[in-house]
């Protein structure tokens, strides 16, 4: 039976992008011109996704569980057309903030290395993590170039003091020790939206903006745009197009001053999160 299926669908199973014809491919666009690094998205993610707080000790040993982090760099990148910044003793151009979470790579390096296939690619382009299947080999964590996979080094969720546990979101599970977890693009919200769309009779189309991820929803400057990259009308698709970033490339064919880029794109992992350059007024 398995053999028959294999032989019948051989060419299908041998092709690289198996989900080419699916109606959904979730993607994001984050405008670093607007991101102020406040951390609203981070806290929203804690609230939405049942992330445990680990406390000072565990945080110190690097066991924190924030799926989303805001990185803050000081250094001005090289080749910046800028003035008198080098000799200044202060970071006069402010900080460099970038929210970093799972980039939902289409060619995710974390996926093929899992010994039990606990992480795989869903038809709507998500890099899914099946908590129940995970045995905690942590290979995926090593192989993630963005280091956005978070491992439950302890049973954090059993230690939540009453009544804080009443806040836990029943739409998704809490994770036990020994399990890898990561940003899901709020898959529970995606599923709910899909179900709703299906109830309304359009299986292949969710109206753009009919739901948001928790981080996008809380972002005070609306720096985060999320949606379906296969939907030509979606804001995220338009943003990708406007900034000339194509999904299946490892080097974009565009001029440098068009702002779209993907972090570590050259590794050819095809991340689904596009960032827009931070902007500074060089005349100020």
């Amino acid at each position: 039976m398995g053999l028959k299926r294999m032989l019948e669908n051989w060419s299908d199973f041998r092709k690289q992008d198996y989900y080419e014809d699916e109606p959904y491919m979730w993607g994001m666009s984050i405008d670093l011109n607007k991101c102020i690094g406040c951390g609203a998205c981070v806290t929203a993610c804690y609230a939405e996704n049942n992330l445990p707080t680990v406390g000072k000790e565990h945080y110190a040993s690097g066991h924190s569980m924030h799926w989303m982090r805001i990185e803050r760099y000081w250094e001005e990148p090289e080749g910046e057309a800028d003035i008198d910044i080098k000799e200044s003793e202060y970071p006069e151009r402010g900080a460099h903030y970038i929210p970093m979470m799972c980039q939902q790579c289409n060619h995710a390096p974390c996926e093929p290395v899992c010994p039990v296939a606990a992480t795989y690619h869903t038809p709507d382009g998500l890099n899914a993590q099946v908590y129940n299947r995970c045995i905690g080999s942590r290979y995926c964590g090593n192989n993630c170039p963005y280091k956005v996979r978070y491992f439950n080094f302890f049973d954090f969720n059993t230690e939540i003091p009453h009544p804080l546990e009443m806040q836990l979101n029943p739409d998704l599970s809490v994770r036990s020790k020994g399990v890898m977890e990561k940003c899901t693009f709020c898959v529970q919200r995606i599923r709910a939206a899909k179900d709703a769309a299906e109830d309304e009779g359009h299986r292949d189309h969710i109206e753009d903006g009919s739901f948001q991820t928790a981080c996008q929803q809380s972002c005070p400057t609306e720096a985060i745009v999320f949606g379906n990259l296969r939907d030509e009308a979606s804001a995220v698709k338009q943003s990708w197009e406007a900034h000339e970033v194509e999904l299946n490339r490892f080097e974009q064919d565009k001029s440098e001053d068009i702002r779209g880029y993907r972090v570590l794109e050259e590794l050819n992992v095809e991340p689904c999160v596009m960032y827009l350059d931070r902007v500074r007024d060089t005349e100020a």
Partner: protein
């Protein structure tokens, strides 16, 4: 009230009644009707740690298993008063989201707002009333506590002093009503962060404490320490404004402050300045500007006289900002118009804070920003409901009263002076002098634990209320609060502050029986207010009473808009700049101390929320701790590296914390974040870090009497070698270099604003078009 002594049945005069409801001096005619009693709160019992399977066939009201219901309410985590939608499932509130209809936050919510859930579900919440017996606070029954409450507060007492945190809406009205009934006029409001000095300066110049700012129109924002993205008045609102300000054509932000704030981190140009000298820089700019007649014409002569011919070089020396930079700033101000000049807490936190604010705001007048980016306010229809943000001067009055024996009973609600106030103010000693101390509090904070009667109260997610935003995006907005779930700790647990106070009032005056609880009081008031509202809800479903329809309408919106008279033209009244001579250096205490608040722990009130403790500081990236920020050059001179423990000593005290070598702080300045150093306040806050306010010297702004928060001088000495410092970037590689270099990775790329404006003008796609749920 005082005139009505003739018995229960006697009706209040209409005027008095409106006053009680917080609707005094309302211009419009209001009709009085009874109140409805539709219970919109779901009635699900929450059995602790037990799963309850709900049959889908017969669900309880407003509960459909598996389906989330959203209740509109108002966030009370800071005075900004954002509208929220609380997501409720099976009787538990799970998530707070911004209310898209609210003009304050437009559907967005900051970390503190998100973390409101953890205040609500906090394991350290007080659940039982406590009475001090034999020197120790002991848990007692509600009956006993209510008796005690009746005894203490249920009588007329002119020596009663009431201290509350920033209040607005019907809490403010009810407190005022109570104090009227109790015959006390000792009402004080103290909140740490609202910029009282700035408000006073605004009031003086623009005629309103908080005129409306139009960021979108501004081509340039020059901010003297106004951390509008972080801790200034209404962070979510201003961040939203900032987002629009940054869209092409992109506005430019220049931030001038001694310690980089979140706003500074996002500035196009961040300029470090010695604390307390911002006024001189403003003066220098003004003096350069008035060389041009266009700007000089906008101010009266006596003001001109006070500013012209400033010595730019001397000012450059004083401020630490180079002459070149001052000229560049001047150029920028002349090139980009309209602009917006803001003054914030680091500029105002000096002994000459008011003068500084005056000098800064004067720039707006000169640049012609008034009426363009600074817009007038219309008159508030119900001043009793207006936000009262208070300040240090009120706290000082409260403490003075206690010290002098003028007050014998102290009531504290929503404020924590023993933690907040500098040791030099002697808050704990003054507080100890009161004969009897009562606290309405959710948490065992420092002040509460020093009281004799402690009454645990509802969280803002359990209680009915109204609130007015500290910075109103639209005039006349009144946020509504409703319980978004049944009380977490059940009927034996905490009680509503409004209910408790109304109970006391009912005992004092039988006519208050009219309202069986605070809910009916609030609803009655709102219903009464109906004619003053913009488009009050109408009956939509046949069979509905008007009250029901109204109630449903306003509660599902989460706020109401009151009719306001259209705002008049804004005319600025400028005063001459009178800055004192530049201060001398202090050899013994060579450094300026900046106590820096941040979006997260705020002034320390959120230190007990683990989400916020674990949210890294936006700049230093430290979690769960206090630290001292020192500039790299200074650190080199002092021989300290990140992680070393230093003692920071002022004339008022000393504290120890670990060093973070931090480039975003002025060289002669050390900054210590606010928020930690609690000695009480539950498991997540107690014993962590230090509170820099505790070592502030008792210096005050000369005009307003506000505490000069940035005027303290300190010395810094290394006391111990490097220990681990917990940061988001948890590694030694990062700490040792402390640059957090991108190592050539181009993780954050940057383009110039010129390129941005060229490539992105008119690109619709950059604007998200999200429809709200």
């Amino acid at each position: 009230m005082k005139s009505n002594k003739s018995g229960e049945q006697e009706a209040w005069s209409r005027r008095t009644f409106l006053k009680i409801m917080g609707l005094g001096s309302a211009g419009s005619a209001l009709a009085l009707t009874g109140c409805g009693d539709t219970d919109i709160v779901n009635n699900v019992d929450i059995e602790v740690r037990k799963e309850k399977v709900e049959p889908n066939v017969d669900p309880q009201d407003f509960v459909r298993p598996g389906i989330a219901i959203y209740y509109a309410s108002t966030c009370r985590q800071c005075p900004a008063g954002c509208g929220i939608h609380a997501r409720n499932r099976e009787g538990r509130v799970l998530k707070l989201e911004g209310n898209p209809a609210s003009p304050v936050n437009r559907g967005r919510l900051c970390p503190m707002g998100q973390a409101g859930l953890q205040a609500h579900y906090n394991p350290d919440r007080l659940t039982k009333p406590m009475i001090r017996k034999g020197g120790k606070l002991t848990e007692v029954s509600w009956a006993e506590a209510e008796n005690a409450l009746k005894k203490v507060l249920g009588r007329r007492n002119g020596k009663l002093a009431w201290l509350s945190g920033a209040v607005s809406g019907h809490h403010a009205a009810l407190i005022r009503t109570y104090l009227d009934v109790a015959g006390s006029n000792n009402s004080f409001v103290f909140d740490t962060l609202p910029p009282a000095v700035g408000h006073a300066a605004n009031e003086a110049i623009f005629g309103h404490a908080m005129p409306k700012y139009d960021f979108d129109k501004a081509a340039l924002i020059l901010s003297f320490g106004a951390d509008f993205l972080g801790t200034w008045m209404s962070p979510v609102h201003f961040a939203g404004e900032y987002g629009r300000f940054r869209a092409a054509p992109r506005g430019t932000l220049v931030q001038i402050e001694p310690k980089m704030t979140l706003t500074g981190a996002n500035a196009d140009r961040w300029i470090a300045i010695r604390p307390g000298t911002e006024g001189y820089l403003a003066l220098a700019l003004a003096s350069l500007l008035v060389e041009d007649a266009r700007y000089a014409d906008r101010v009266p002569v006596e003001v001109l006289d006070s500013i012209k011919d400033a010595d730019i070089e001397a000012i450059a020396n004083t401020t630490g900002v180079s002459v070149d930079r001052i000229h560049r700033l001047h150029q920028l101000l002349t090139q980009r118009s309209p602009s917006l000049v803001l003054s914030g807490s680091s500029a105002e936190g000096a002994e000459h804070g008011s003068e500084t604010a005056n000098a800064i705001l004067l720039l707006n007048v000169m640049l012609g920003n008034v009426g363009k980016t600074i817009l007038p306010r219309s008159k508030q229809p119900f001043p009793d409901l207006a936000p009262k943000l208070g300040g240090w001067s009120e706290l000082r009055a409260f403490l003075d009263g206690l010290n002098s024996g003028k007050f014998d009973t102290a009531v504290v609600f929503g404020s924590n002076p023993i933690y907040q106030a500098p040791k030099s103010l002697g808050a704990d000693k003054a507080f100890a002098k009161a004969k009897y101390r009562v606290s309405f509090s959710m948490f065992p904070d420092e002040t509460t634990m020093a009281c004799d009667l402690v009454l645990p109260i509802y969280s803002y997610l359990e209680e009915w209320n109204t609130a007015m935003p500290a910075y109103a995006a639209d005039d006349g907005q009144l946020g509504l609060q409703q319980p978004v779930m049944n009380p977490v700790f059940g009927s034996d647990g905490p009680r509503g502050f409004g209910d408790l106070l109304l109970g006391v009032l009912t005992n004092m005056d039988g006519r208050f029986k009219k309202w069986k609880d605070y809910e009916s009081y609030v609803m009655d008031a709102l219903f009464t207010m109906r004619p003053a509202m913009v488009k009050p809800p109408k009956i939509t479903v046949p069979g509905q009473t008007e009250m029901e329809a109204f109630r449903q309408g306003v509660l599902s919106t989460g706020f109401v808009r009151l009719k306001t008279a259209s705002a008049g033209k804004l005319t600025a009244k400028v005063r001459p700049v009178q800055l004192p001579k530049a201060p001398k250096e202090d050899g013994g205490h060579p450094f300026h101390l900046v106590p820096s608040p941040r979006l997260g722990l705020w002034d320390g009130r959120h230190a007990n929320l683990p989400w916020l403790q674990e949210l890294p500081d936006q700049l230093a990236e430290v979690v769960w701790d206090s630290w001292v920020e020192i500039h790299p050059a200074t650190a080199k001179k002092l021989g300290v590296i990140t992680g070393d423990v230093v003692s920071v000593t002022s004339s008022a005290g000393s504290l120890k914390a670990k060093v973070v070598v931090f480039p975003g702080v002025q060289r002669d300045t050390v900054a210590i974040p606010l928020g930690q150093g609690h000695t009480e306040y539950g498991r997540y806050a107690k014993g962590i870090g230090v509170n820099p306010y505790h070592i502030l010297e008792a210096k005050f702004d000369r005009q307003t009497g506000e505490l000069a928060t940035h005027a303290t001088r300190v010395s810094v000495k290394k006391v111990a070698d490097r220990g681990p410092l917990v940061t988001l970037a948890n590694g030694d590689l990062v700490l040792e270099s402390n640059t957090s270099t991108q190592a050539g990775r181009e993780i954050v790329k940057t383009v110039s604003a010129k390129d941005f404006d060229r490539t992105e003008s008119g690109k619709a796609a950059t604007r998200p078009a999200n429809k709200e749920v």
